[in-house]
């Protein structure tokens, strides 16, 4: 029942995202085959279900993004881009689902850039990335009051380094619970 509800929601969400404003162009492609649910909704999580037996050991496999996997919370961007790429749509959708299910939940979306360029212009670029994500969340039904787009610009890189590998990991938006 719950799964049917979610599937329907996801379909609607995908449709909404596909048709949304041009500055958040999310293409209507099939989502990658993986499903993520928040680790925080513990009552239905796999590990806890059979915990009543004294010798039972439930295995949690984080590599397969099972029900207990940490909810992905980072969206990476191309250079000078604010477009949420297809591969990160599930991240946004999963977070939207959590926020829509509980209107008391709040999320901070922190935009980040790579180290190149001025600190203030990068702050504005990071803000644009963060707002790109909050717009997508709101199109998926999240209330405006539940999300705040902020930016750290180039001030808080995820990884150190001055090559494309490092820069690619730093051009990101992090979705953090408040």
């Amino acid at each position: 029942m719950k799964n049917i509800k979610f599937t329907a929601f996801a379909l609607v969400a995908a449709a909404v995202m596909a048709g949304c404003a041009s500055n958040v162009p999310l293409e209507n492609k099939a989502a990658p085959v993986e499903s993520r649910t928040p680790a925080t909704s513990s009552s239905s999580s796999g590990a806890a279900t059979n915990a009543n037996s004294g010798s039972k050991v439930a295995s949690v496999d984080l590599t397969k993004n099972t029900a207990n996997a940490e909810l992905a919370r980072v969206v990476y961007f191309d250079y000078d881009s604010f477009v949420i790429k297809d591969e990160f749509r599930p991240v946004v959708e999963a977070q939207a689902k959590v926020l829509s299910a509980d209107r008391t939940k709040k999320l901070s979306v922190e935009g980040h850039t790579d180290e190149r360029g001025g600190s203030e212009y990068n702050l504005a670029l990071g803000q644009k990335r963060a707002e790109s994500v909050t717009k997508a969340l709101k199109l998926l039904g999240v209330n405006d009051t539940q999300v705040e787009a902020v930016s750290f610009g180039k001030e808080r890189p995820a990884v150190q380094g001055s090559d494309e590998a490092a820069w690619a990991k730093n051009r990101r938006a992090e979705l953090t619970s408040r």
Binding site: G118, E120, A124, S151
Partner: protein, 425 residues
């Protein structure tokens, strides 16, 4: 024609070995040769080696950094009451000579005296006597340099002004205030989170800045002398890029509270923010023109970031930068004639200076690749900026023609976000 002057170190070593504390403080490296430089000899001051600061070395470093003076090496000791032989100094190639003394007073202060001579005309150009606290010996030396600079160039010196900048050491950030030569730095704010964009109030008593201590960009203002802070802008989203109006009564900042980064003018306590720009693009890094009527700012409305201007009261937006596809961080000279900014050229971020009234293609004035955050000295003759040199973040000053550069601070922490303060002490 490019050389490094390490004569301070040599001079200090020659002077005496018993001033270990002072030696470590001189890290100014000057490079370049200006077109016209007055050769000046700054003699050792009598008893200056009995203090913590070698005043004559500070005076000489100040004058050389300014670009219009060239120091003449000397180990001579001359005090203000001396009768130096002008023919002797002429033969050493000096056009001007400074001598002085430092005398400890009974109350613990020091009486700093000096005199300036025009060697060519054989004329006494005057001097001063100032009693200062031991902590103000550096300031006393900067005042001497200001006196010399003004007597010989007719313009006000900026050696006694201050700069603000941000250091980072690991995950510790500090907003610091130092002498214009980068020395004597004091911490105004320590934080575990980044600090950017310090902006001096026009009276030099306050610093506005962006701090991320609340896990988002918030604009604060802080009284430098008391440390008292107040929030200027803490709206939903990011609050950044503060700059003061010339009369100190209002501030401009970039707020994202209405979506997008847009420019707002507000009262000096952040009251009544009024949106100045209205675009679907990024508008940020606004700075007031010296007459307070125009805002210069950065916008990506044409694609990449370019510099524009708009009347503070609102009105037509006019593009100012045309060369290159990435132009940011405009700073105006105090007379409004020049604009310094950062331009990306072939992947390098370079400091440019443009004469606003002229259509001539501006030129890069550095040979570094990561220049940031230019701001003018209050006399408009020097620009301070951040760059990378030797794998470190450093602060540099340069003359507007790029001919004389000085590397200011070289401590263990990386330094960024410099802002030159006004005349204030």
């Amino acid at each position: 024609m490019h050389y490094l002057i390490h004569r301070f170190f040599v001079l200090l070593l020659l002077l005496t070995g018993l001033i270990g504390a002072a030696e470590a403080q001189f890290r100014v490296e000057i490079s370049g040769v200006g077109a016209t430089q007055v050769p000046i000899a700054v003699a050792r001051f009598r008893d200056e080696d009995r203090t913590t600061q070698i005043l004559s070395a500070i005076v000489r470093a100040d004058l050389e950094r300014a670009g219009v003076f060239r120091g003449i090496d000397t180990t001579a000791l001359i005090d203000e009451a001396g009768q130096p032989q002008m023919s002797e100094w002429r033969s050493k190639g000096a056009d001007a000579l400074v001598g002085g003394s430092v005398t400890r007073l009974a109350d613990g202060r020091f009486d700093v005296r000096f005199k300036l001579w025009d060697v060519v005309k054989g004329k006494d150009l005057g001097g001063q006597s100032n009693a200062v606290a031991p902590a103000d010996l550096r300031l006393a030396a900067h005042h001497i340099a200001d006196f010399v600079y003004e007597k010989l160039t007719g313009e006000k010196g900026v050696f006694s002004t201050r700069i603000a900048y941000v250091t980072r050491s690991g995950t510790r950030y500090a907003l610091r205030v130092a002498d214009a030569d980068g020395e004597g730095g004091q911490v105004a704010l320590n934080s575990p989170e980044p600090i950017i964009s310090p902006a001096w109030s026009p009276n030099g008593q306050e610093l506005a800045y962006v701090s991320f201590e609340a896990q988002k960009a918030v604009v604060y203002a802080q009284e430098v002398a008391s440390g008292k802070r107040r929030v200027i802008a803490n709206f939903r989203g990011s609050n950044s890029a503060p700059a003061w109006s010339p009369d100190g009564q209002s501030l401009v900042a970039t707020l994202s509270r209405e979506g997008g980064s847009q420019i707002f003018v507000m009262g000096r306590n952040g009251e009544n923010p009024r949106r100045v720009t209205s675009s679907p693009s990024i508008d940020t890094e606004a700075t007031f023109s010296p007459d307070g009527r125009t805002l210069y700012f950065v916008s990506d409305r044409s694609g990449g970031p370019q510099i524009y201007r708009v009347p503070v009261a609102g009105g037509a937006v006019e593009r100012v930068s045309f060369t290159g596809d990435y132009n940011i961080s405009p700073a105006l000279s105090p007379d409004g004639r020049y604009m310094a900014y950062i331009s990306r050229q072939s992947g390098a971020f370079k400091l440019y200076v443009a004469e606003l009234s002229k259509g001539a293609t501006p030129q890069a004035i550095t040979d570094t690749r990561d220049d940031e955050s230019p701001s003018f000295a209050p006399n408009g003759r020097l620009i301070i900026y951040a760059t990378r040199s030797g794998g470190r973040d450093v602060l540099m000053t340069t003359t507007l023609d790029g001919k004389i550069k000085a590397k200011l601070v070289s401590t263990t922490a990386d330094v960024r976000e410099p802002m030159w303060g006004p005349y204030d002490r």
